[in-house]
């Protein structure tokens, strides 16, 4: 195995891992404000890709506008999910809400299949397909878009949570909801916003990945599971652990596919996850359960 192919696996691993990381971040944001594991998170990623294709091909918007419209539409779906399926549940337990999100994900997938069919669709790359050569490896411009946008999103989120009142208030909801209520924070609005923000991040991930992996109605299941695995890997509830977990997962998967067999590509993620859970149940970057109680 020569250096160039190792570099090649690393690049494709980081690219895919960035999307896992974004999905994982979406999980983390909703989990941190509400305690819910949103199993519809993968569908946000799917919708980001499918809506982009739809707005590009059917309504004929130029690519950047089509992507923006796709993200906006997915954010609206996120808001709709919170308002119409999470908020109306009377005296919910967390488990009930988590099961609601599983139901929602099935419905979204079903609707997507009805509307768009079972085909896979290609989204053109943002800035052409001409590969760049780098130390013997090939980099597509789209790889750079994915990594760049992921980094920008990460930095913006960090600023949002640490540097704005609204972001701090969302964190406060996650640490102690009662105190948040008593400090005049509208917890319901924070929950709504967390769904919208997660939908935003998920759909951006879906839209930037679509030129590389294609979009189809059922992309969400596996991406959702991988994103969830990345979350656990990085320590549930830790946004930067989630992003790092995604990158690590993507890279390991890519090396696994390259060195062992690409047939087992998807199994690697879960083998790694199981292995880690035996050794460090709280994740790589998670605090031990005792201190979180």
């Amino acid at each position: 195995m020569d250096f160039a192919s190792i570099l090649q696996y690393l690049i494709s691993g980081l690219t895919v891992g960035a999307t896992y990381g974004l999905t994982a971040l979406g999980f983390t944001i909703i989990y941190n404000t509400t305690g819910i594991i949103n199993f519809a998170q993968g569908e946000f990623v799917m919708l980001g890709g499918m809506f982009s294709v739809f707005f590009l091909n059917v309504t004929g918007l130029p690519l950047p506008l089509a992507v923006a419209a796709a993200v906006a539409a997915t954010v609206a779906v996120g808001a709709f999910i919170e308002r119409c399926t999470i908020r109306p549940v009377k005296h919910p337990t967390l488990i009930q809400l988590i099961i609601v999100t599983i139901g929602v994900s099935i419905v979204i997938r079903g609707l997507a299949m009805l509307v768009w069919g079972k085909d896979t669709f290609a989204l053109p790359a943002f800035t052409g397909e001409t590969p760049l050569r780098f130390l013997g490896a090939t980099i597509l411009p789209q790889n750079l878009w994915i990594l760049g946008i992921t980094l920008v999103l990460l930095a913006a989120l960090k600023r949002f949570f640490a540097g704005t009142m609204f972001g701090r208030a969302m964190l406060a909801c996650s640490h102690n909801k009662k105190a948040a209520y008593l400090s005049g924070i509208d917890v319901q609005r924070m929950v709504l916003f967390s769904f919208m923000l997660s939908a935003f991040i998920g759909s951006v991930g879906g839209a930037i990945l679509a030129p590389i992996t294609m979009a189809s109605y059922d992309r969400g299941i596996l991406l959702g599971l991988k994103g969830f695995a990345a979350c656990i890997l990085g320590g549930l509830g830790n946004p930067f652990g989630a992003a790092a977990g995604g990158l690590i997962l993507g890279v390991l998967e890519s090396f696994g596919a390259g060195f062992v067999s690409s047939a087992y590509k998807d199994a690697f993620a879960f083998l790694i996850l199981l292995g880690l859970l035996f050794v460090r149940p709280s994740g790589l970057f998670g605090k031990s359960a005792a201190t979180r109680a």
Partner: protein
């Protein structure tokens, strides 16, 4: 400032508050005492909107005077003796019913609740905890005022300023209590609800907290409803008191009277350790 009339609260079938009526006048410190499980926390949480009372009861808040936010310093001690009995008819015309409002609305109306067990945001910094207390104050002028209030609170609680970058969860119990009070004050309340601020603290620390409460009432022109099991120290700083027993208010009166009352002495003062 606030009056409750015939308020009933249920947890499922448990009748935790039974036709409770009570009022607090502007500038007063009123103590609410009672044994474990009497319903003290339930009563405060009902005022602050965390719990919904059964239909029929009323919780009325006096509107803010003059429209403006209450000033930092001012006629605190004058307000203390004022308002004898006359306060209720004065706001009868446009009192605000709290029974159907959400907790964040109630904070905006000027009622802050320092909950039992402090409930600071442990993994966030002390400074962020205090700052978030002013979440409801939006607009440039209000933000500037909030920054001034924060400086003022740091002057009152220097230990919070020293630890402003530290995680709130690493503070001692007494420091966390001060932090919880400072956070509540950042919303510029007119009425402060305090749930067992002395819980789990050494008597000297409790006394320090109680001194702060009197001081804050004067500086911030506050009205205070104070829940305590440590009945003696609470009644010593209070103007009036209520005694709650299994969800019912069984006794009320000026603080000195309650301190001298035989039943109160037997039930609530005998066990005080710090006297």
């Amino acid at each position: 400032m606030i009056s409750l009339k015939n308020v009933d609260v249920f947890y499922g079938k448990i009748h935790a508050l039974r036709r409770a009526s009570l009022h607090v006048r502007r500038g007063e410190i009123v103590a609410l005492i009672g044994a474990n499980g009497a319903g003290k926390t339930t009563l405060l949480s009902t005022i602050s909107g965390l719990l919904r009372p059964a239909p029929g009861g009323r919780i009325d808040l006096a509107p803010a005077t003059g429209g403006a936010c209450p000033g930092l310093r001012g006629a605190g001690s004058a307000a203390k003796s004022g308002g004898d009995g006359g306060a209720k008819p004065a706001f009868a015309a446009e009192r605000i019913d709290l029974t159907r409002r959400s907790p964040d609305r109630i904070v905006r109306l000027g009622v802050s609740h320092v909950p039992e067990g402090r409930q600071v945001w442990g993994p966030m910094s002390v400074a962020d905890n205090i700052l978030l207390g002013s979440y409801c104050r939006t607009g440039r002028a209000a933000r500037a005022q909030a920054a001034e209030d924060m400086a003022e609170l740091y002057r009152m609680f220097p230990v919070l300023e020293e630890r402003s970058d530290q995680m709130a969860g690493t503070l001692s119990g007494g420091e966390q209590q001060m932090l919880a009070i400072a956070r509540a004050l950042m919303a510029r309340p007119r009425l402060l609800l305090l749930d067992e601020p002395g819980m789990g603290l050494a008597p000297t620390v409790t006394r320090e907290i109680f001194r702060h409460i009197v001081d804050l009432r004067d500086r911030f022109e506050l009205t205070v409803l104070l829940v305590e099991q440590n009945a003696r120290s609470a009644l010593q700083i209070a103007d009036r008191g209520y005694v709650l027993e299994t969800g019912r208010i069984v006794l009320q009166g000026p603080a000195e009277e309650l301190l001298a009352n035989r039943d109160v002495q037997r039930a609530y003062l005998g066990r005080d350790l710090d006297s």
